[in-house]
């Protein structure tokens, strides 16, 4: 399998994982969307030097991943793939912000390093939560949930097409790479060869996309993607949303690490 092929298979795993029956996949997609949005707001609402106060929020992605039986290695791989963006976003901070800040009694650090750490942590929190939700819901159910929450159908249908066409484009690319290797093409292609490969790839992907679209038209597609799997809100969903939102509010209102620390050290300090 080429690298592109295995990367695609890895991405497709999100849909495969979502097709299993887990505690997470049984929840209404709307419950997961609403809770995750609340989570994102809570996480980004903190002041930019926050690190420790964010730690309790780790509980949410961890809970999602275990409820959805999402493999940790898969999450870690996807996280690593996106990590360079977070590093890129935060790397200027240590350079620009050198004001010393007290981390705990007697230990000081440049403010820039602390905000850099905060960016990385927030990134890890939000991306892991989003990945776990996708893998525990599936793109189709997620879009159905978004549509039911009022997202315009045009947008959710486009999102599904984008998801579908990613695999089309990637699949065509993988086939071309295999064909090139089979005919003895090695190493990285020259610019001219690369250009012709890319042109070919786009053409083939366009043709394929057109066939997919026609096949949907032939089955009566009219802009709305309908499914027999209807959304059903159950008390379980209410408990999920209410429980987590209450937790986020509590974590935001009180400095949980301190409270926990006090509890553990017998109300000292």
């Amino acid at each position: 399998m080429s690298r592109l092929e295995s990367a695609l298979a890895d991405l497709r795993l999100a849909d495969t994982l979502a097709s299993r029956d887990t505690a997470l996949s049984r929840l209404d997609p709307r419950a997961k969307i609403v809770t995750t949005i609340a989570f994102l707001f809570a996480v980004v609402s903190y002041e930019r030097h926050t690190v420790v106060a964010l730690l309790p929020f780790l509980l949410y992605p961890v809970a999602l991943a275990s409820m959805g039986e999402v493999p940790w290695r898969w999450l870690a791989r996807k996280l690593a793939l996106a990590a360079p963006f977070a590093v890129l976003m935060g790397i200027a901070n240590p350079v620009l912000d050198r004001t010393p800040m007290e981390v705990s009694q007697g230990v000081t650090m440049a403010g820039g390093w602390i905000s850099f750490g905060s960016i990385l942590l927030r990134f890890a929190l939000t991306v892991t939560a989003a990945l776990a939700v996708v893998a525990g819901t599936g793109m189709h159910a997620l879009c159905a949930g978004l549509a039911a929450l009022g997202t315009p159908r045009v947008f959710t249908a486009q999102l599904l097409f984008l998801w579908r066409y990613t695999f089309v484009l990637g699949g065509e690319g993988a086939r071309m790479a295999t064909a090139r290797e089979a005919r003895g093409g090695r190493g990285s292609p020259t610019l001219a060869v690369y250009g012709s490969l890319a042109g070919h790839l786009l053409l083939r992907a366009f043709e394929r996309a057109e066939r997919i679209y026609r096949a949907m038209l032939a089955r009566g597609f009219d802009g709305e993607i309908r499914s027999v799997r209807t959304l059903r809100w159950s008390p379980r969903d209410t408990v999920f949303v209410a429980g987590w939102v209450a937790f986020f509010i509590a974590a935001r209102a009180v400095y949980l690490p301190l409270v926990l620390g006090r509890l553990l050290t017998g109300f000292g300090g």
Binding site: H140, I212, R219
Partner: protein, 243 residues
Amino acid sequence: MSDHLVEAIGLSYAYPDGTTALDGASFRVAPGESVAIVGGNGAGKSTLLLMMAGLLEANAGEVRIGDVSVTPGSRDLVRRTIGFVFQDADDQLFMPTVQEDVAFGPLNLGVSAEEAASLAATALDVVGASHLADRPPYHLSGGEKRAVALAGVIAMGPNVLLLDEPTAGLDPAARRRLIKLLQAFEHTRIVATHDLDLVLDVCTRVLVMEGGRIVADGAPDAVFRDEPLLARCHLEAPLRWQG
């Protein structure tokens, strides 16, 4: 309409890049008839089928189903009457599970979710794929994908089935199963194929295409004896007649 006579009248089509794909094709298919369209690569078979399903508009000529002309205006009616099974099942399968995919067409026709689910179950049963209902379609074998794609079309209850190279890429067992299914259907069937043995098993009539035209029309037994014609159209006599 009620008799589902399908008629192509002087169909011509050139792709935007100038390639002439159809050049005045005319024929008529009676209700319940099973007709093969054979011809070499690029003869225009796929283009012809797309046009008959109203998915491509002719430059000249028209397609009629009963007394209705296939145009963008009659699209709803065409969707209900004509079922199109695409050559590559991967182009057709879209939904996250087999069951949802097969129910996709019926839902678009406006039936309730319950009814769509029951139509899907029946269609899956017909093609012998009920056990696949909860699987994601992209992990199925070629033969399974083809069966599911076919189920997705027959679940819509079409009167006319168009199939583009239905046996391409199937192993002999899957091919045999598909042939049995096609024999059992009472729909009007129009099958584009290179598989002349399939034609002998399933079709009572064959149209031979070359360069966008119909160059022969007759019973398979007779047409396939015309060796010069077959050679000209890049075809070979059915395997069971050889050796």
